[in-house]
């Protein structure tokens, strides 16, 4: 696009910097000198997308290939969307400002279900046919990966290739094959047939699904005999030697996470029964502190960031956390670079350590008990007791902390009214602990924030068979807390239950929801994760028009022998294990952290070919 045309668009939108590219460490190449033009597409606004670590890893990884230029594109905010339409300008990538339809491949990342409409809308704004079967050999290929690809079926009609699992190693292989095919005469079908042999690659057009009369799945039928029966997820086995960028793009404008993100490990050993990430990212794989220290040094130098954030599913579990934190403080304290650490480890830290972290930046304390009573925490296997929280808080209060954030869920399986009251009780106990101290010790202004999310059952978790609470149930529960929590020191917020209902439908959905998505986008649904744009009534109208009873997907309790839409994907965790965990939850029985004892989820046999921990007894 020429500069004048671009300026006409940029001058009319609220935050033009979302669309200009050119940030530090972004990559410019000459399009004539590359074979593959790849658009990494994040189906949400720039500030959200730029905070996503996975995008930064893949962007730099692909751009290290001389034959590939990876650019970025984000969902244009509605003000920009309007400008694009008015100026008849197709959606463009940030680096070259070329329209997406000129690219070879568009790769979407699927981070949350509520971004699905943005994917379709981005294709629409690019004048690319939304459905795979309407795209010719000359259109860009549409790839998708990320956590939501573990149930890819609602998007089956729109995506050519799904990547199941971690793509750092598989994506380059696919691009190599793509290049060979391009040089030997392009045939989309032949290309898809070849890559479907690779682990973790799912080509939805190679399969059909047959349903029973009651609407459940009878069987999956292969339409192409080269296609595998099950798709096994891919993992990076050794994070110490796998690719990690030494530079990441530094946005000009403030984004959600504006700092150096250090990934300590992948996977999680806690086994919380509601948590999809805890299951699909297994097994646990830690990086060595030496690797991390080298990576953080390079990243700080190349970005100029003033904050380091340690990021993992349960960062406090990192086996070398204290030595690492100490090394980082030693190295960067003087430069006023701050370090955010997980709250729960305060009790095991020396007060000198806490003081050092504290001296650079004072952040609040955050806990995620998820449920208000011990019974409920046992049901969901959240192995965190009120005593553990209280012990940490006592230390923290003494050291001058006075801001506490608490995250809960409502609508968990087996929940009773007492469990909701338990949320209130815990918040009050935390408040009391602050004031039940000698007067001279009480410093600062206590602020306790309680946040309640509505539970969404997710595939590949022990709760995948559970029906989600109804809108009314969620409303009753969130309203109860609103009524009950009446204290100036405690604030309470809750998620919109309507959003969680829709999230549940798509998380647990099947192929028949593709028509719903298409219809919703034609009616103007997008940015559903943003309350300003989310239109629940419109969605309900779409379900009605498409003659789909959405309660079938999210409110129904399923039996263990039902064929689930995502059963053809092998996450490495066995179904037997998930059933066993579901049954234990009914008995309020907990399962150990698998660092202590192997709990037999199957991941070591299916993906590692050995134990998860090298030096275990």
């Amino acid at each position: 696009m020429d500069n004048y045309k671009l300026d006409q668009l940029l001058l009319k939108v609220e935050k033009p910097a979302r669309y200009i590219g050119g940030e530090l460490n972004s990559v410019d190449k000459s399009k004539e000198k590359v074979d593959i033009r790849f658009a990494f597409a994040f189906p949400d606004v720039y500030e959200v997308g730029m905070s996503h670590l996975g995008m930064h890893i893949l962007y730099q990884l692909l751009n290290e290939r001389p034959d590939t230029w990876c650019e970025r594109v984000f969902a244009p905010w509605p003000d920009m969307e309007q400008q694009l339409i008015e100026h008849k300008t197709p959606l463009f990538a940030l680096e070259s400002t070329d329209p997406l339809c000129e690219f070879d491949i568009i790769g979407f990342t699927l981070q949350y279900e509520m971004s699905y409409t943005n994917i379709l809308n981005m294709l629409k704004l690019s004048n690319i046919p939304m459905e795979s079967h309407d795209r010719s050999d000359n259109h860009p290929l549409v790839f998708a990966g990320g956590p939501c690809s573990f149930n890819p079926e609602p998007l089956h009609a729109f995506v050519d290739v799904f990547f199941i699992g971690e793509s750092e190693e598989q994506l380059p292989k696919v691009l190599d094959i793509y290049n060979q095919h391009q040089h030997n005469g392009w045939n989309k079908q032949a290309f898809l047939e070849e890559i479907c042999q690779l682990q973790g690659i799912y080509i939805p057009s190679f399969y059909d699904v047959v349903y029973k009369e009651d609407g459940t799945i009878k069987e999956r039928v292969k339409k192409n005999n080269k296609a595998p029966d099950t798709i096994k997820k891919v993992i990076v086995k050794d994070l110490d030697i796998s690719y990690y960028p030494d530079k990441i793009i530094v946005p000009f404008i403030e984004t959600v996470h504006d700092r150096v993100v250090l990934e300590l490990f992948r996977g999680c050993t806690r086994g919380c029964r509601f948590c999809q990430a805890g299951m699909i990212y297994r097994p646990i794989r830690e990086k060595k502190p030496e690797t991390l220290i080298k990576q953080v040094d390079q990243l700080l130098q190349s970005t100029g960031h003033e904050e380091i954030s340690l990021s993992s599913l349960s960062t406090g579990d990192y086996s070398q956390l204290m030595p690492l934190a100490e090394a980082l403080l030693d190295a960067y304290e003087k430069e006023k670079i701050s370090l955010s650490l997980p709250s729960l480890r305060l009790d095991s830290m020396s007060s000198e350590m806490i003081d050092r972290i504290h001296s650079v930046r004072k952040s609040g304390l955050t806990f995620a008990p998820e449920a208000g009573t011990q019974k409920m925490r046992d049901v969901i296997n959240k192995n965190l007791t009120e005593n553990q929280i209280m012990d940490t808080l006592k230390v923290a209060y003494k050291l001058g902390w006075s801001t506490v954030k608490l995250y809960f869920m409502v609508g968990l399986p087996g929940e009773e009214i007492e469990d909701i009251y338990g949320i209130k009780d815990m918040a009050y106990h935390i408040k009391d602990a602050f004031f039940d101290r000698p007067k001279e010790e009480i410093k600062g202004n206590l602020k306790v924030s309680v946040s309640a999310a509505c539970f969404v059952p997710k595939p590949f978790t022990p709760f995948q068979w559970d029906g989600q609470n109804t809108l009314e149930q969620f409303r009753d529960k969130t309203a109860l807390l609103k009524r009950e929590i009446k204290d100036k020191k405690i604030s309470y917020t809750y998620h919109d239950p309507k959003l969680s209902i829709l999230e549940g439908i798509f998380a647990l959905g099947d192929r028949r929801l593709a028509a719903v998505l298409k219809n919703a986008v034609s009616k103007g649904c997008r940015f559903d994760g943003w309350s300003d744009y989310f239109d629940y009534a419109l969605w309900m109208k779409v379900f009605e028009e498409e003659n789909i009873d959405y309660t079938y997907y999210n409110h129904r309790n399923k039996s263990f022998d039902e064929v689930l839409p995502w059963d053809f994907i092998d996450s490495g965790v066995s179904k037997d294990y998930l059933i066993k965990e579901k049954q234990k939850s009914l008995n309020e029985e907990i399962t150990d952290d698998c660092r202590l004892n192997c709990t037999g989820c199957g991941i070591n046999h299916q993906l590692l070919g050995g134990p998860c921990f090298e030096n275990r007894n």
Partner: protein
Amino acid sequence: MRIVIKYTKKGKIRYISHLDTLRVLQRAVRRAKLPIKFSEGFNPHAKISIAYPLSLGLESEGEYAEIEFTQKMRLTDVQERLQKCLPQGMEIIGIYTYQLSASLASLVSHQIYGFKVQIENTLDTVNVVQQILEITQQAYTIKREKKKRNKRVYKEINVIDFVEDVSVHSVQGDMLSINIKVKATDIGSLKVEELKTWIREKVDGIEIRKISRVDLNFIDKSWLIEYN
């Protein structure tokens, strides 16, 4: 040691807001490993400030920022290291030591805007130039809308109270460069949009093609001497 840099803000970087520009400078100083001074307190921040905000989307030929270091530095050295860390379009075009006790921001007296206008009919050039040169002789009031709580309040402003001088800088073919020197006082200044309306209303036969900020003027210019 305190210094002042004068730099440009051209190209796409003009879409970066005032606050974000400040962050771009802070990070550039960090990457350049310059010994920046930090403020005291809970959230220490690097001691950098920009002399006067620039409207989002506007290019500038002369922006100024004040930076404080913990030790004495050679200006040429600072310029070289910092320039390497700045994005395209931000070019350091002057660097000065600054020893006044007042902040640089408090010394700003005028903003100078450059308007590039196209003359519709070149036979009118003389007439257009005359209109421009006489533009400050007539009062021109604009209404400014303000939101006070939920009410809309209007305030009337006479543009020429804020305009010190309008001059024609150059004529090239049908393109005319005009410089407008606008007062930047405690009671505020004029917005670019307001200047645009004024010029459009008062000068016939022209089309505004481009606006940029050319420079800032200061009450005390003693620090503004070229080093060598």
